[in-house]
């Protein structure tokens, strides 16, 4: 088990103020907050793409994790080859079968041999999820995966994220979309100006937020202005 993931007094420049946090296995965690609250930076710190300015981050054990970004980055090769590339880097056996299964999971079998870069935005994001799916990660980080997609594509992406959750992968997703947080989350970590202001179950967070900042954010006010 990679989880729990522990952050001890972790800060990053002026974006993340020193914070301690523990991410447990199981329920999906939504990192909620306005633009500029530090969601993306916190995700990158946890995923290991950024080194904290101070503090420590440690996993319970080594294991496989993956991240899907707001804008998918695809290599100039076929959709299938993009998934295979990730599997080969991770030295996974039986890559071909796993890659095809992953494409089937996200509904991209028909375009497996099309160049990834000429797929639509929604298809590319599903391909990014397939690339993660094939790796069977214990933890999946998602950084606003639907922020630049239309409602149909968003629904398709959300279905795949639910499948990750159902398959036992721990989902940690940053979003500023309240509906999405409600649809996909079990617990909410509300971030405001680089601080964790509130952490609660989704039901509780939306029904009776404990802090004024969170209440204002839910009401659609602009507490960050």
């Amino acid at each position: 088990m990679m989880l729990p993931l522990k952050l001890e007094e972790v800060s990053f420049l002026h974006v993340i103020k020193p914070l301690s946090l523990q991410i447990e296995a199981g329920p999906s965690t939504i990192i909620l907050g306005a633009n500029g609250a530090g969601k993306s930076v916190l995700m990158r710190l946890m995923h290991g793409l950024l080194i904290p300015s101070s503090g420590r981050i440690f996993w319970n054990s080594a294991g496989r994790q993956a991240m899907v970004f707001q804008r998918p980055v695809m290599l100039r090769r076929s959709a299938l080859d993009n998934v295979l590339y990730a599997l080969n880097v991770a030295r996974v056996m039986d890559a071909e079968r796993l890659a095809k299964e992953a494409l089937a999971e996200v509904g991209l079998t028909a375009v497996a041999h099309r160049p990834a870069r000429i797929l639509s935005g929604g298809e590319q994001q599903r391909l990014a999820l397939a690339r993660a799916w094939a790796l069977h990660p214990e933890v999946l980080f998602l950084d606003e995966p639907t922020a630049s997609l239309d409602p149909t594509a968003t629904r398709e992406i959300e279905a795949v994220i639910r499948a990750f959750d159902a398959s036992g992968t721990k989902v940690v997703m940053a979003t500023h979309n309240l509906g999405q947080a409600r649809r996909l989350g079990d617990e909410v970590i509300y971030l405001h100006q680089g601080r964790v202001v509130e952490r609660a179950s989704v039901e509780k967070f939306f029904a009776q937020p404990a802090t004024a900042e969170a209440a204002a954010f839910i009401k659609g006010e602009l507490p960050w202005v």
């Binding site: 793409l49 991240m67 980055v73 100039r76 090769r77 880097v89 991770a90 000429i118």
Partner: protein, 231 residues
């Protein structure tokens, strides 16, 4: 000018064997130099784009500056290296096509490496997080980006080819413009001009431009087709 075109037409039409030899040697020398410089320059440029080490920025400035290396200076340097008394004199390469390839490779290596460095660095901005997230780092990351933008790098290679096929100073000094051995198009043009045979010199010039144009057109079509295909 009309004389020049007539001379060029006559040269090509007659397929004059000495002309064919000159054109073939020109292409052989320049394309070999481009191949070598590409082989060395692309990994060098990619490494400079991706790696972070002390002294990286001065090296980039130096590399950019070396794009403007004067051919005659490169020729002189290679001449000193390869001359009988020089450190590499024992190989007996001076006044051979091999010496010309060496000089042109040195001349265009910075061009290909510097342009590649810029292209990879721009692409790296887009790819870095994704590749690091997948656990791809170092040489493998550089090679992945290099391969992914290979068709854009064609422009860097073409810049090198343009420089190689157009320069006269380096090949003149290390090749010696020996008829039938090291005479290429540019040195032949220089010679005919100094002899006063301007129509022949211009005719050769037109052939040279046509060859370079054809190579560039082919590369352009390849790149365009690839970009339509791969996005």
């Amino acid at each position: 000018m009309a004389d020049a075109f007539r001379a060029a037409g006559a040269l090509v039409w007659s397929a004059d064997p000495s002309l064919v030899g000159i054109v073939a040697l020109s292409l052989a020398v320049s394309l070999t130099a481009v191949a070598l410089a590409t082989l060395l320059g692309l990994p060098l440029g990619a490494a400079l784009a991706v790696a972070r080490f002390p002294g990286r920025r001065p090296i980039i400035v130096l590399l950019n500056a070396l794009m403007g290396l004067p051919p005659v200076v490169v020729g002189l340097g290679v001449y000193l290296l390869l001359s009988r008394a020089g450190p590499l004199g024992a190989f007996g390469l001076l006044f051979t096509p091999g010496a010309m390839v060496i000089a042109q490779t040195i001349l265009i290596l910075p061009i290909i490496a510097a342009l590649c460095r810029q292209a990879v660095e721009d692409a790296w901005l887009e790819y870095e997080e994704q590749l690091r997230s997948l656990g791809v780092e170092g040489a493998r990351a550089a090679l992945t980006v290099l391969w992914d933008i290979r068709f854009s790098l064609l422009t860097a290679v073409l810049a090198g080819l343009g420089r190689a096929s157009a320069e006269v100073g380096a090949v003149m000094i290390v090749g010696g413009n020996i008829d039938g051995v090291t005479r290429v198009m540019t040195t032949a043009i220089a010679l005919e001009t100094s002899k006063g045979d301007l129509p022949l010199a211009l005719g050769l010039g037109l052939v040279l431009i046509a060859v370079v144009l054809a190579l560039n057109a082919a590369a352009f079509l390849v790149k365009e087709a690839a970009q339509r295909r791969y996005g």
